[in-house]
Amino acid sequence: MPNLYCNIISDLCAGLVRGLGLTASCKIGEGGIALAEAVHGSAPDIAGKNSANPTALLLSGVSILCHLNLHDKVDQIQNAILDTIAEGKYRTADLGGKAKTTEFTNAIIDHL
């Protein structure tokens, strides 16, 4: 069951870096179809509360841009995300902060 093992190991590794909210993935099929999604699930317990960490899905979006060869945009967005996290002023609850999803996103936009 390599499918199951990968599910378990990828979540485990995300946990090691403290980041189920941070980890992106990209599944590539034959014929070049790409599906990018966050490693985390739908988190029904925090749905609708504007507290989710959007980094995982943002980085998944970045990997789509990479797949489409838009590398300058990739760098711009990725750096903005990493700078915002490194700065530490706006962090969502899963990273130990108090920022809302919208506040965190606005901070990333400011860093672009």
Partner: protein, 365 residues
């Protein structure tokens, strides 16, 4: 400046102060002190090294056990009937791992033994040891894993060339009895919470049945908290916040993974004790990854860590109702770990198995 030499007496006083000065009275029945026979299987790889460690320490303590030793190897076609008879007679066995070749259609003799004797519960205690700092603190997890069915049912077939089907079997009967064992364990050992590990969002029928059984048993123990966690999230939580877990009950494969992960967090499979138990028999072995027989280099240099099997043998002594001997053995092992002078490579040291055994024997009171 305090040197290592001056710290040791301080540590010793600290340890003795933390032990009660008067031992808990265990009123035995006359005749309880007669030596009990235990089947011993050295096994393959590092097995003989670590079972020999147990023999030496038991002898040093004059523990009321004697061993009936049998050679069994993973390469044997069948598990020898005389060994099974011995275990059936003695009810208790302690063993090293039996090497299982990868693939090739040869089934594991470790798994065979568990199924043949219906040792339906595998138990591993993963906990922080004083003197062995790890990334996390306050971890004390007991993983209780269903040991006879699930993904280890051994039912595989090739449908057409290049397509293999593997059957995972989950039964109400086995799920109920493992859940009962887990809750009973929690009750008897004053544990507060039991967590069921599953992937019922995908394997709705199989893991769903397992959860159903757990929920039914949970109702009989209203004083014990019960919750459920999906296995991938569980692994993630184990490596980030393991202190949230207490007793965990799992089907076969997830239990294997969770036990090894939990052991890894607390210092490795070289130190965690455990065993397998059924209605009639108990087989003690290294807690997690018991089938692992170690690298050739460890065998050659005789540097296997005997701590896991020594602590499992302490569990065995308690199982045989010799609590004072179990306490003495555990205290000695804990002292050696705390002092950090004699340690095998997996704990960051460079000692041999024999050096650890000698240190434990020295530390016995």
């Amino acid at each position: 400046m305090t040197t290592a030499r001056s710290i040791i007496p301080l540590l010793n006083r600290l340890i003795s102060r933390s032990q009660p000065s008067r031992s808990v009275t265990y009123m035995h029945r006359p005749g309880d002190g007669s030596p009990r026979p235990v089947t011993l299987i050295p096994g393959d790889g590092v097995g003989p090294l670590v079972t020999d460690a147990v023999e030496q320490v038991m002898e040093a303590m004059h523990a009321p056990v004697y061993f009936e030793k049998f050679e069994v190897h993973g390469t044997m076609k069948k598990f020898p009937e005389e060994v099974l008879d011995s275990i059936r007679k003695n009810k208790v066995c302690i063993k090293g791992g039996l090497a299982t070749p990868m693939g090739g259609g040869v089934n594991s003799l470790n798994v065979y033994l568990r199924k043949e004797l219906d040792l339906y519960a595998s138990l591993v205690n993963c906990f922080n040891m004083r003197g062995l700092p790890t990334r996390h603190e306050n971890v004390d997890i007991v993983v209780i894993r269903e040991n006879t069915e699930g993904e280890y049912a051994g039912l595989e077939h090739e449908v057409v060339p290049g397509v293999v089907e593997s059957l995972k079997v989950i039964t109400k009967f086995c799920s109920e009895r493992i859940a009962s064992y887990a809750f009973e364990y929690a009750y008897l050992n004053n544990r507060k919470k039991v967590t069921a590990v599953h992937k019922a969002n995908i394997m709705k029928l199989a893991d769903g049945l397992f959860l159903e059984a757990c929920r039914e048993v949970a109702q009989k123990y209203p004083a014990i908290q019960y919750n459920e966690i999906i296995v991938d999230n569980c692994c993630m939580q184990l490596v980030s916040k393991p202190e949230q877990f207490d007793v965990m009950v799992t089907p076969n494969l997830y239990g294997n993974l969770v036990a090894n992960t939990a052991a890894g967090i607390c210092g490795g499979t070289g130190v965690m004790p455990g065993g397998n138990v059924g209605a009639e028999h108990a087989v003690f072995e290294q807690g997690a990854s018991a089938g692992n027989v170690g690298k050739d280099s460890i065998v050659a240099q005789k540097t296997a860590n005997p701590v896991a099997l020594l602590l499992s043998s302490a569990m065995m002594l308690r199982h045989l109702q010799f609590p004072a001997f179990a306490d003495r053995l555990e205290t000695a092992v804990q002292k050696v770990i705390l002092q950090a002078k004699v340690r095998t490579k997996d704990l960051g040291g460079s000692s041999t198995t024999q050096e650890v055994v000698d240190a434990v024997i020295d530390a016995l009171d």
